[in-house]
Amino acid sequence: MGTELYFNLESQEKFVVDQQNLITQNAAQEIKNFIETKSNLLETTVKIGNLTTVKKEEYKLTLTKLIGFESSFRQIVLLDMQGEELATVSRLSSQSTPVINEFKKMIGNDLFTKINQGEEYISQAYIDTVTSEPMIIMATPVKNALGDLKGALVAELNLKFIWDLMNEIKIGETGLVYIVDRQGDLIAFKDISRVLKNENLAYLDEVNEFVNENISAYTGTSEILRGINGDLVVTNHVNFGYPDWAIIIELPVFEAYNNAIRVIKLSGLITILGIILVIIASVYLSKRITEPIIKLKNAANEISRGRLDTRISVASQNEIGELAENFNQMAAQLHSYTQHLENIVAERTSELKKEKENVEQKVQERTRELKEEQAKFLASIYSLSLGFVLFDKRHRILLKNNAANDILRLPAGDLTQGMIKEVLKNKLDVEKKAEECMKRKKQSN
């Protein structure tokens, strides 16, 4: 984008320069043509009017024809070589005598300096005090057929046309154009009040360049400088050459590079927009992917907690949707298997329970039988007339009958083998006999 902007600026600059050059050249040419046409008209009048040969009475007729033909001539005077008035024609009434005198005053030595050299003369532009319109004085030498100088035909030319032209020239939306003379005095500008103030613009760089130029050359280069209104402008000027004026053209920088600025703005906007869209798209897409996965995760958690009826709904037709579908199927199957297992376990548990009950019942029965046998055994032991005493390995008496008590005259209460040994101490080594019994029992097994 940087490269594109650079080339855009370059081409924009070239376009502005070319456009300015075209406009200034056209305007300058139009004004030059205007001046030159009037000058040619004076020359033609001198030649065709035979001003050097006709009678004096016909001077005025010729001049009135000229002034009637060309509306921009306000006054015309025919002078001899001494500067004496031979004939005068004016659009003004005689009450405008001061204006006429002023006009004649302005026809000073400068005019005859040029005329004596056989050259045309153009004065500095000035503002008419009554009409506030711009005027110049033009003069052309009057020569006879031999080329001898005989006088001067002098005309006061109204330059209002140039002001109208300045108003009509459009330089973009806010561009300006104005004309200055060689001294830098403002001659024509759309803000007439500044012209009427005889404003000198030599302080402006572009005007200063013209004022100090030694050659009448069209520079063709535009620069960014301060303009007539103090703002930064892309500016250029064109010398008329004849008359010795220049037309200055200005275009505010922001407007001159408007397209490039617009491109930059647009590019920036598009970039920002693109970033926003990318962010939105990313968020949206990621949500579209992560949301189902989160759902899957949550569902898996629920299932791991035992909620096998958990299902997820993902309304998408892509792989995520398929995954969700498969997950649901898996969950359903798991649920089904679990259910089945639970059923089996339940059944088995039921069976085991029954068996247990049977076993318990049998145990109870057997216990009852054993207890009955034990009771019988004990009854038979107790009913023996023999004395019966049962010891364990630790010489603890487990069982004894009444006969033993009677025979041995054992005391009541708990007895130990020691107590019986004491009773039988000289009669029976109970302990020794007990060991012999146990050995014989082991050998028989």
Binding site: G68, S94, Q95, S96, T131, D191, I192, S193, L273
Partner: protein, 324 residues
């Protein structure tokens, strides 16, 4: 979401674009003298060339009346109440009324066909001040020019009748210029002030009954002569008694004056439009220098011949229009 964003951006673009639509302008035009009503046409034509299109971005409220101060006041009051963007007004009296009517408002006034001498219309030509500017009517200069042409057409005349609207403000400034020039030419000026056409007619009848002691009739820059009724009275009198008359060129009921030195009314309207453009673009009217109308010299060659006048070739060369 994306579609919503696109809609918002597109909508914003069109809102911004529509906010840059050009402003509409409301221009009040007070055409206060029928004689120069063509001024409005020239004004509108130039305005249209500059982009002020009637019916599209510009509304013209055109009110036509003749020399009537009460009507001027009422129309201008309406313009002010309607808050027009600009008042374009002519001639002098209407312009003065306009200046008074907009006092205290920010409505600019653009005058035309208005004299600036001896009236409190502007401060000076270069910076008229207030909120007013316009195209001046070079009344005194034209009056002298008319006299000079009359003298060239009929060099033998000695007494010139000058009818005019009584107490018209700029008559005095014209007469004060004319008197010394006439004296220098050994010509006597006979003033004939009148309030209206009836008085003018009666005055001319008195001359007939007593003695017609003038040999030309000339118009000053004032409204009475150019009112159709008054012009008819003067023209009938002049034709009947073969007295050359002119100054302001008019044709009413097949009667025409011999010559007129005036301004080109249509072109003056166009000149005014250029100033209007500046005003409507925001330049304070009081800072825009007053410009002058250019004179326009017409000769009715046929009528001149009818009056037995040989028009010098020089005069024909100077004429901007020769009517045959």
């Amino acid at each position: 979401m994306i579609i919503l964003l696109i809609i918002i951006i597109t909508g914003t673009y069109f809102v911004i674009r529509s906010s840059k639509v050009k402003k509409n302008y409301h221009v009040g035009i007070l055409s206060g003298l029928t004689y120069v009503s063509e001024m409005t046409d020239g004004f509108k034509e130039k305005m249209a060339e500059m982009g002020y299109i009637e019916g599209k971005n510009t509304i013209y409220d055109v009110r036509e009346t003749d020399f009537d101060m009460t009507a001027y006041k009422n129309i201008l009051k309406e313009f002010v109440e309607n808050k027009v963007n600009l008042i374009f007004v002519f001639p002098t009296e209407a312009s003065l009324e306009a200046k008074a009517a907009v006092a205290g408002t920010n409505i600019p006034v653009l005058f035309s066909f208005a004299n600036i001498e001896d009236v409190d219309l502007i401060e000076n030509i270069r910076e008229p001040g207030g909120n007013i500017t316009g195209v001046r009517y070079p009344g005194p200069d034209l009056a002298v020019k008319r006299f000079e042409i009359m003298m060239e057409l009929a060099p033998r005349i000695k007494r010139i009748l000058i009818p005019y609207q009584r107490d018209y403000p700029i008559v005095d400034s014209q007469l004060s210029l004319l008197y010394p020039i006439a004296e220098a030419a050994n010509v006597t000026l006979i003033e004939l002030p009148a309030d209206n056409t009836a008085e003018l007619r009666n005055s001319l009848r008195e001359y007939v009954s007593s003695n017609i002691d003038f040999d030309a009739i000339m118009a000053l820059a004032e409204p009475l002569f150019v009112t159709p009724d008054a012009f008819s009275v003067i023209a009938e009198f002049a034709y009947e008694h073969e007295i050359p008359f002119g100054g302001a060129y008019m044709t009413v009921n097949n009667y025409s004056s011999i010559f007129g030195v005036n301004i080109n009314i249509f072109e003056t309207g166009r000149q005014a439009a250029i100033l209007a453009d500046k005003i409507l673009k925001g330049v304070p009217a009081g800072t825009i220098p007053v410009i002058s109308s250019e004179s326009f010299f017409q000769i009715d060659y046929a009528v001149a011949q009818k009056f037995g006048i040989t028009v010098p070739e020089e005069l024909l060369n100077l004429a901007d229009e020769i009517i045959r």
